[in-house]
């Protein structure tokens, strides 16, 4: 073995994580028919898209890209999505929550605190079934939340799209078992071992294009439950909530109705990475109302088929 002053062949951790993710993407593409890449326009799915492009380069992506559209999007994110898809020459499928509501598959929540976040699961599962997808790539990370910390890189869903934490397949070495039965599908999380900081450092090193809302900008916001939300047509203000202008950016990208902003002046990638490295609050704790419902909010939603 080479040692001493000879080459040690060490590689930086981001490169090791990248290599692992590319291995996962290729492995699933090879073993599971009919894959799809779930693309929300958020930073994590942007990184997955970037890695998928690398995995098959110089060939094109061997699967389409799907956006689950709540209809309550940040316009900047839709603009970004269309730009990325055009740039990659990928096939885009849009699964619409509005259509699920119109067709009576789901019932819209009412009131000022209503959100379409939870309804997405039904739209997503319907789309997976309609297109016959067997593998859906997503950008979830284990550091996001503690139910996620226990989830496998290949996460199996039964006929009902449910995740059963007690019946997960063991994952050993880099040997992934991609066998699925008709009706079942597998969610694939190539960024499982990445942290939020890893994602940002990687975005910086690779100069990955992101939606503008990740960088500080002036925006009209209002305060609710200690968080700042963007004013929009999708959110009703409650008595006493006063909109005001603030310099903010978003740490996550979700439905406009449940994604909070953080006060920030970080306008460049370098500044955002520095801010993330210094932050003392998790991205979900700081910006996601959907996780504040209960201690096991994510666990419950995952069992229903959530991302």
């Amino acid at each position: 073995m080479l040692r001493g002053d000879q080459m040690t062949y060490e590689i930086p951790h981001l490169r090791a994580l990248e290599s692992e993710a590319i291995h996962v993407v290729r492995e699933v593409a090879a073993e599971v028919e009919r894959g799809v890449l779930l693309f929300s326009g958020g930073k994590d799915s942007a990184v997955v898209l970037h890695l998928a492009r690398k995995a098959f380069w110089p060939a094109a992506l061997p699967f389409p890209v799907m956006h689950v559209d709540t209809g309550h999007n940040f316009p900047e994110v839709i603009e970004y999505r269309d730009r990325m898809v055009a740039d990659l020459d990928a096939r885009l499928i849009v699964a619409s929550v509005q259509e699920s509501i119109d067709s009576g598959r789901v019932v819209e929540e009412n009131g000022p605190r209503s959100s379409r976040n939870r309804l997405q699961s039904v739209t997503l599962l319907d789309a997976i079934e309609e297109h016959g997808f067997r593998a859906a790539f997503g950008g979830a990370r284990r550091d996001e939340e503690r139910a996620r910390a226990k989830e496998r890189i290949l996460s199996f869903r039964d006929d009902f799209g449910q995740w059963d934490p007690k019946r997960q397949r063991p994952e050993l070495w880099n040997l992934y078992n991609g066998f699925v039965k008709p009706g079942e599908h597998v969610r694939v999380f190539p960024l499982s071992n990445w942290t939020e900081l890893d994602v940002w450092q990687y975005v910086r090193e690779e100069r990955i294009d992101l939606p503008s809302i990740y960088f500080a900008h002036r925006r009209e916001v209002f305060r609710r439950d200690g968080m700042l939300y963007a004013t929009s047509d999708f959110v009703e203000l409650i008595d006493g909530e006063e909109p005001f202008e603030e310099s903010v950016r978003f740490r996550t990208v979700g439905d406009m109705s449940c994604t909070g902003a953080v006060r920030s002046t970080a306008a460049t990638l370098e500044e955002v990475v520095a801010e993330i490295a210094a932050t003392r609050i998790t991205e979900r704790g700081e910006t996601r109302a959907d996780d504040r419902i209960s201690e096991a909010a994510m666990e419950d939603r995952k069992k229903e088929g959530y991302f």
């Binding site: 951790h13 380069w57 110089p58 910390a149 397949r169 880099n174 071992n193 700081e286």
Partner: protein, 432 residues
């Protein structure tokens, strides 16, 4: 990608500004050993805990009436686990220091969770085993050491915890070291380190404790940051399992044909003579491609695309290696197998076997013995292998695999068994 903060394209080589290295370690121990507390302490002392996570833990500690901020709660994942105060599955945790990024595979220690420890240990560079200073080396500590050695984890660290409860007594520590070393001598452990700690109070966890002046070794964190893991990889035996054939068939890359995969071991250089298995055809490496440009050489664990000089038929599941250093072609495999399913190993049962990127059928030919993981006793008349049991098995294959001994090559010496009817992963194998 730019490899380091210098931004220079260095083909993954060490750079002047030292980039941080990735280290994976597995922890084993039961709730009582203070394993969760130790992990909580490591996360806390490296400032990896966020304020909202800590508040959640403080709230829960208060509700439970713990009387202190129970750092162990940081690592509880699922509702059933919180309610029952147990860990049912492998959980992954992350923290970093300026030198390294760490991935912890946190595995429960109960005997029925052997399969979880095997899972966590399969990718680990280092195993961390906890021993309660008051109880000494228990059966489960021995089991954990056995699994770590079976899975060939290169570095083993024994943390003798709760030193505060034995008055930081050197004799207690020395006795446990001697006891454990005696057991480890029966195993195949290459690097064994003992550290006396108190996870609850943080002694010798992130920094050196002044309450154990007789101990002159490093703190746990210092050890984790400095243990040399890069040389644990096999850089001698060139092995490249083909994952995917890249054929763009586009105008720009009309005749391009490349073989995508992750280097399993060894180093591949442009111009190297190689052999493709199973065909046995020899050729040379024409190029090593990545999205960011060509490389002169590739080594584990890089994911790359190899192009070959001759136009030969290569497909997924093939193995590229060197003509004078090939893996062994076998139709019968002898292996240690850990059983991971509630349905026991069926005598003469048929399974899929996945080895690198190749999946073939296997028949359980003969269970030579089952091993008692607590005593290492070999039970030769064992009829079957049940969940969490480990045994030596001979498998007959439907078509050949290209293997190395696991002790020489973790990547090409390992396999999983998949149940044909349920598709579950039911066994983990290490080639003898």
């Amino acid at each position: 990608m730019a490899v380091a903060s210098t931004g220079a394209a260095t083909n993954g080589r060490p750079t002047v500004t030292r980039p941080s290295e990735l280290v994976r370690f597995a922890t084993a121990g039961s709730v009582d050993d203070g394993k969760s507390t130790l992990i909580g302490r490591l996360l806390y002392d490296t400032k990896s805990i966020f304020e909202d996570q800590l508040e959640q833990v403080e709230r829960t500690s208060l509700q439970r009436g713990d009387g202190y901020v129970n750092l162990a709660l940081l690592t509880d994942g699922l509702r059933a686990e919180r309610e029952q105060g147990i860990t049912i599955d492998v959980a992954y945790r992350y923290f970093h220091t300026p030198r390294r990024k760490f991935i912890i595979a946190d595995t429960p220690g109960h005997p029925q969770y052997t399969r979880n420890m095997v899972t966590g240990a399969s990718t680990a560079d280092l195993a961390l085993i906890l021993v309660d200073a008051r109880k000494g080396v228990l059966e489960q500590s021995r089991r954990h050491a056995f699994i770590a050695s079976l899975l060939r984890i290169p570095h083993l660290v024994v943390c003798v915890n709760k030193m505060d409860l034995v008055d930081f007594d050197r004799e207690v520590f020395d006795r446990i070291c001697a006891d454990f070393s005696g057991w480890a001598a029966k195993l195949d452990v290459s690097d064994l380190t003992f550290i006396p700690i108190s996870a609850l109070h943080g002694d010798n966890v992130a920094g050196r404790s002044d309450r154990m002046p007789w101990y002159d070794g490093p703190s746990l964190l210092y050890h984790l940051e400095h243990v040399h893991v890069a040389s644990d990889r096999n850089l001698v035996d060139a092995r490249f399992p083909v994952q995917w054939v890249v054929r763009p068939m586009s105008d720009d890359h009309h005749d391009y044909r490349g073989y995508a995969g992750e280097v399993a071991s060894g180093v591949f250089r442009v111009g190297d003579e190689v052999v493709v298995l199973p065909s046995g055809i020899e050729t040379r490496i024409a190029g090593i491609d990545t999205y960011e440009g060509p490389l002169e050489e590739a080594f584990p664990p890089l994911s790359v695309v190899l192009r070959l000089e001759d136009d030969i038929d290569v497909s997924r599941g093939d193995m590229i290696s060197r003509p004078h250093n090939r893996p062994t072609e076998v139709r019968d495999v002898e292996a240690m197998v850990c059983w991971m399913s509630e349905r026991p190993l069926q005598p003469a049962g048929r399974y899929r076997i996945k080895h690198t990127t190749r999946t073939v059928l296997a028949k359980a030919d003969q269970l030579r013995y089952r091993i008692d993981v607590n005593t290492l006793h070999r039970q030769e008349d064992a009829g079957d292998l049940s969940l969490n049991e480990i045994g030596r098995l001979r498998l007959r294959l439907s078509s050949p695999l290209f293997l190395d001994e696991y002790r020489r090559n973790r990547a090409t010496g390992s396999f999983i068994l998949i149940d044909e009817s349920t598709n579950d992963t039911v066994g983990a194998g290490m080639v003898l």
